[in-house]
């Protein structure tokens, strides 16, 4: 069973040096580049390596990190979830609406509803065998429509009352870091343990590696697939609720295009889109890398902010080319 965790199913013991290097680079590439970029940033800009700035980077990317965590699990099974941006917006709006019923409503309502949406998408993918790309594309459209319905065509922005405990969940600090950052870290830690140490986690790699082989081995492929979409939607909803708590309102237009940022972070982090191989630490590094690049471009100041997407896109292209090259080298 443990062999399914490896990026390449090829025999490990006679792996050549080149292959081992390729695997190392593919697994930790994002982390290595992240360190390099941070060093360059710290040398070039005095204001980069300050505690204040780093804290900002952390809290700005905590929400993307939560979404990307779920996305990693989905992609590991060979699927994709395009609906996360809309689900995040729904989570925010529902969180703000639910906050009138206290903290439980503010957290419970978005998680339950978003989980139900994930369940629906998961059933369509897992039970009916529809293509994940299309199902979640419909989710992207439909859930955004739902958000607009809830908010009077986007004209209404539900706010969270001052002094509500839900607000402090998004804004308070613990040991110098804001709560959403801690929540994202805990979620990553739990997801990492689940992925590497539980039956369910291992079955994600198996299903992504070969669905028919997993089926023949007696794994419950359908249940695995349904669950990852539920997890992804719940995490997106949680991210939305926390974002609403941080900004004190559920803005119906947030999260547009977020699915692509999340996919980019996952891919940069070394998870193969074909499924079956990848890691959560890579995803975390990918999220932070995108965040640091954005931060550095802001530091330059006189650069047009549009350059950020140019740099991110170019970066993504380079990463996928290198990744494809590295993973091919391992297979041979």
């Amino acid at each position: 069973m443990s062999s399914t965790v490896d990026a390449a199913p090829a025999a490990t013991h006679d792996a050549g040096r080149g292959e081992r290097f390729a695997r190392l680079a593919q697994r930790n590439g994002a982390l290595i580049v992240l360190v390099l970029v941070c060093v360059v940033g710290a040398v070039s800009f005095e204001s980069f390596a300050t505690g204040e700035n780093l804290r900002n980077i952390a809290v700005q990317n905590a929400f993307l990190a939560l979404v990307a965590c779920g996305m990693t699990l989905v992609i590991l099974t060979g699927g994709i979830d395009l609906s996360v941006g809309s689900v995040l917006a729904l989570g925010g709006v529902l969180g703000a609406i639910g906050s009138e019923a206290g903290l439980i409503g503010a957290i419970g309502l978005p998680l339950v509803v978003c989980g139900a949406i994930g369940l629906l998408q998961g059933l369509l993918v897992g039970k009916l065998g529809l293509a994940p790309f299309i199902v979640t594309l419909a989710g992207l459209l439909g859930v955004r429509g739902l958000v607009l319905t809830l908010t009077d065509e986007g004209a209404d922005t539900p706010t969270i009352e001052r002094g509500s405990p839900f607000r402090s969940l998004g804004q308070d600090e613990l040991l110098g870091l804001q709560l959403p950052v801690w929540i994202a870290l805990v979620v990553f830690a739990v997801a990492g343990v689940v992925l590497l140490r539980t039956r369910f986690g291992q079955s994600l790699f198996a299903v992504g590696g070969s669905e028919s082989a997993s089926q023949l081995m007696g794994l419950n492929v359908t249940r695995t697939k349904v669950l990852v979409y539920v997890i992804s939607a719940v995490l997106a909803g949680l991210a939305g609720a926390l974002l609403a708590a941080r900004s004190s309102s559920g803005v119906p237009t947030v999260g547009m295009g977020l699915e692509l940022d999340a996919i980019a972070a996952v891919v940069i982090g070394g998870t193969l889109l074909a499924g079956g191989a990848g890691s959560l630490t890579g995803t975390l590094a990918g999220v932070l890398l995108l965040g640091v690049i954005q931060n550095l471009i802001n530091q330059v100041g006189d650069l047009n902010s549009s350059y950020q997407s140019v740099v991110s896109g170019a970066f993504l292209a380079v990463v996928v080319v290198v990744q494809t090259y590295l993973s091919r080298k391992q297979r041979l």
Binding site: I134, L137, A317
Partner: protein
């Protein structure tokens, strides 16, 4: 993905299941035309002024950019690919027009189309020669393309006053807007390419089974490269036309989310996402269907949000019908 088929409920009496698969097969092949027909019929009965020439013209002008993009997307999806970058390529084309309009409309449009081709070549090279999955390969340009367009345009909307260029958006020939004519010509051209040329055959073969196509000696890589170039050029055409109609170059807004509408049109039109089939007429019907649903809902005062939800249900229904019919076979 077909390995895990839905278990069929035993061996039923064959006549019944045959009839059922006939119905399912018919729906899969012609569902979009049936839906379009019903919608037109319903509109004729319910919506005022639906059958007027002015309304027809508005509908066709509005659908043109999506339709043009969807044509390229049909070929790309035929090879089991996907092109997310079309909206950004539209933005690039839009941003380039005011920069080069000094040379006259012709050269400006040519440059926009060439950049579209280059963008497509970039996508295609990543997919065909590097072996990157289409969704990621085109995601890079999706992210970078609009940023580049905004950098080129200095992040601003620019009014366009060149009469020659603007006539592209307003002029009519025999009462038919030029935009609609261009879209019509492109539909015929892509239909011809898909049905009557070797390249069209190659697209279907490569989408059906790339490995077998390669072993059969087909130019797999060149075919892949070409479909992305075509998609890029068509997206640029759509960007130019949208700019002419808007009478302004607006790289931040033009083509936003058009990749989703185009993919919807293609899928609803019956081209399977798993490649190996190209249905150009289906795509045209799919684009018209989506457009008509939108405008019907708007005319009957149904809010925008509901029309999005309906579009989502439509996509699911379309692929579910495809899937069911596939399983029934």
């Amino acid at each position: 993905m077909a390995e895990i088929a839905v278990p069929s409920p035993g061996a039923e009496p064959s006549a019944r299941s045959a009839r059922r698969s006939d119905v399912a097969g018919f729906l899969r092949d012609n569902g979009v035309y049936v839906a379009l027909g019903l919608l037109v019929l319903g509109n004729l009965l319910l919506t005022d002024n639906f059958a007027s020439g002015a309304n027809l013209r508005t509908q066709l002008v509005q659908v043109a950019p999506v339709l043009i993009v969807a044509l390229g997307m049909t070929l790309v999806i035929g090879t089991e690919g996907i092109d997310l970058s079309v909206g950004s390529v539209m933005a690039l084309a839009a941003a380039l027009i005011p920069l080069w309009l000094g040379l006259g409309p012709g050269p400006a449009i040519l440059i926009a189309l060439m950049v579209g081709a280059a963008a497509g070549a970039f996508n295609g090279a990543l997919v065909a020669y590097v072996g990157v999955q289409p969704i990621v390969a085109t995601l890079a340009l999706f992210v970078a393309g609009r940023g580049l367009a905004l950098v080129l345009a200095d992040g601003q909307l620019k009014q366009i006053e060149n009469e020659g260029f603007l006539s592209l958006g307003t002029a009519e020939i025999l009462g038919v807007p030029i935009i609609v004519l261009i879209a019509g010509v492109l539909v015929l051209a892509v239909m011809f390419v898909a049905r009557r040329t070797t390249f069209g055959r190659h697209v279907v073969a490569v989408g059906g089974n790339p490995a077998a196509s390669f072993l059969a000696g087909l130019p797999v890589k060149r075919t892949l490269l070409t479909v992305y170039v075509i998609s890029g050029v068509l997206a640029a055409v759509a960007g130019v036309l949208a700019t002419a109609r808007l009478t302004a170059s607006d790289p931040s807004a033009v083509g936003q989310l058009i990749e989703l509408s185009a993919i919807t049109a293609v899928v609803v039109g019956g081209t399977p996402l798993s490649g190996g089939g190209v249905r150009v007429v289906g795509t045209v019907a799919g684009a018209l269907l989506v457009q008509l649903i939108d405008s019907t809902l708007i005319k009957n005062d149904v809010p925008d949000s509901l029309s999005q939800i309906i579009q989502a249900l439509l996509i699911i229904a379309a692929v579910a019908v495809q899937r069911r019919a596939g399983a029934a076979r």
